[in-house]
Symmetry: C2
Subunit: 350 residues, 2 copies
């Protein structure tokens, strides 16, 4: 698909017969968003679904629930700091946590390529078991499909999750407002660089491990502390920049960031310079941003630092000028606006 | 993997380094079950999970819920009577219904191969929309991943679902008991033969359409009528025979079937003879069996015939002899016992 023809298509599409899915449609950037806005939202949204958020929330039988799904196609299956199994558990646990929910139940759907080693499958399953135990969730149902050799890539994993909403008010982008503090839970960029290092054999893989980790305990600690949470977002595909741009758009605000405040480890910064990557766009699997009223910021940071000493305020929310939402990065040399990437920075990062 | 080495492995495995996943591990027969029993159950079961059932049930926040997942890898994507989109919606709707639940919310996870036509994706999404509308469920959350050319097969779809349990008592294999009637909701074998016909170009595809359909309204009608449902099972991978063998094993009973009572359309029977298939093992996507007390059987059939005039009693449950569960097929020439298939009758049927 050429991007321009897709952009100029009437909404909702039809796509022309020449348009095809590109790797970047799965990258979490602009093309992913177009797919959601032009194809999925017109077809699926019936009332209040917000397909740009990490999960759905609804009342069911008197319970207030969160529900989310993610497929995992990470390459390689094992990487420093995790594997497709721990990633699939933590990723879905974290999407539930970002809804202000306590993760409770997970499903597992496996698509396995014929010829995949059972011993490797066993390692992945054991990793899922350990990750579920650590995150205090139960894997309660599953499904296995096998496809012919050459029709997969070893193993793809889907996990879906159900959680109980614990936050007293909705934790959604639409509640972000001018004056809110933007608080980051730790340093960024480790997952993407760890994957890339082992994939490309760059030689610094021993230094860097993925930040892959469950975030539910951290979020529940914020809720238990009574912090007023306007929005939470874990910083996976597309990294900090993409997550913030989506929130700025959804809330119609400007997010002002202090570049110097954003923690990036030296090896991550060095690898990004070597590879021509911007750490703001690199995927994380154990980091999130919280939006809270400014007068809750220091208390929020205090709670977050019980889990990660690098948690810190990185910016604040301002009202829009000329009705245009934006994310601005303020540095010594001046300010620049962050754009959503249209391409695929790192394919198959999660 | 050689089957014998897997069978002789200590339980729980480790698998030897030579053991690999075969197509039959995804076929729904004996190897699928071994994978569940030897690999998944030891890792995931924490208390009452029943991984041989169609979904999990639990209390959450005061609500009684069912939760299920399935990945769909059917080939080809479009077939007479349905496509991967309607199949993915109906399949998960039906798994929830088999738990005695009213399906409410679905998630969609797509794994798309680079180069897949956007127009085809749009057809699938539109089919999912229509199927969700027909089944009265809402698609509320989703995820898209894209893999490189040659690492997929166009499109794989995962759906997971959440439903509200409506049955007053558990609808599970363990409640099946001697004296129960075995009631089939319609004729069998259409889905598998429709897929195979179009896949192999057998020329009778115009006659036969898949039975792919949502079953929730049928199940809810049974519940509303106050029928005492002991167990429900939709007859997908592995067909009627495999579903009944699993239930006989779980309930430790003998299931006696009257072959002449099982409805099979002539074109299905003819195709099975041509292809050397047994219709009892051919996949369905809109058929199920219900186990009820014998004195509820005629009322159950009455309700089922409002949806399909071919619904009928096909057998009854007996106590085990020598403590060995079994499924027996009684015909004019005598009786034979049905075995679980170890191989893969039809790969990528769903």
């Amino acid at each position: 698909m050429s991007e321009s023809s897709f952009l100029s298509a009437s909404c909702p599409m039809p796509a022309s017969s020449k348009d095809v899915v590109e790797l970047a449609h799965g990258g979490g950037g602009r093309l992913t968003r177009e797919l959601i806005e032009r194809l999925f939202r017109p077809a699926f949204a019936t009332c209040d679904e917000d397909f740009t958020h990490d999960g759905a929330t609804f009342d069911a039988g008197g319970a207030r629930l969160a529900f989310t799904t993610d497929s995992y196609v990470v390459r390689p299956l094992f990487f420093p700091g995790g594997d497709i199994g721990s990633l699939a558990v933590n990723g879905t646990v974290n999407d539930l946590a970002m809804c202000g929910a306590e993760p409770r139940y997970l499903s597992v759907g496996l698509v396995i390529e014929e010829g995949f080693a059972l011993a490797t499958l066993q390692r992945v399953v054991e990793s899922m078991r350990a990750a579920a135990l650590a995150a205090n969730v139960r894997i309660v149902t599953g499904d296995t499909k096998v496809v012919e050799r050459g029709k997969g890539d070893g193993l793809y994993v889907n996990t879906s999750g159900v959680g109980l909403i614990r936050a007293p008010a909705p934790v959604v982008p639409q509640r972000v407002r001018a004056g809110d503090a933007v608080i980051l839970s730790g340093d960024i960029g480790r997952h993407g660089i760890a994957i890339l290092a082992v994939r490309e054999g760059l030689g610094f893989e021993t230094e860097l491990a993925s930040d892959c980790a469950p975030l539910a305990a951290t979020v529940l600690a914020l809720i238990d502390a009574g912090v007023e949470l306007h929005c939470l977002r874990d910083l996976t595909r597309g990294g900090l920049a993409t997550g913030l741009i989506e929130i700025a758009d959804a809330a119609n605000v400007v997010i002002d960031l202090a570049e110097a405040a954003i923690p990036v480890l030296d090896p991550v910064r060095g690898a990004c310079e070597l590879l021509g990557l911007d750490p703001l766009y690199v995927a994380n699997e154990g980091r999130f941003v919280a939006f809270t009223p400014a007068d809750e910021a220091s208390r929020t940071v205090d709670v977050l630092r019980r889990f990660d000493p690098r948690a810190t305020v990185i910016g604040r929310v301002e009202a829009v000028h000329n009705n245009r939402p934006a994310v601005r990065l303020n540095a010594l040399g001046g300010a620049r606006e962050l754009d959503m990437l249209s391409g695929e920075q790192l394919p198959r990062i999660c």
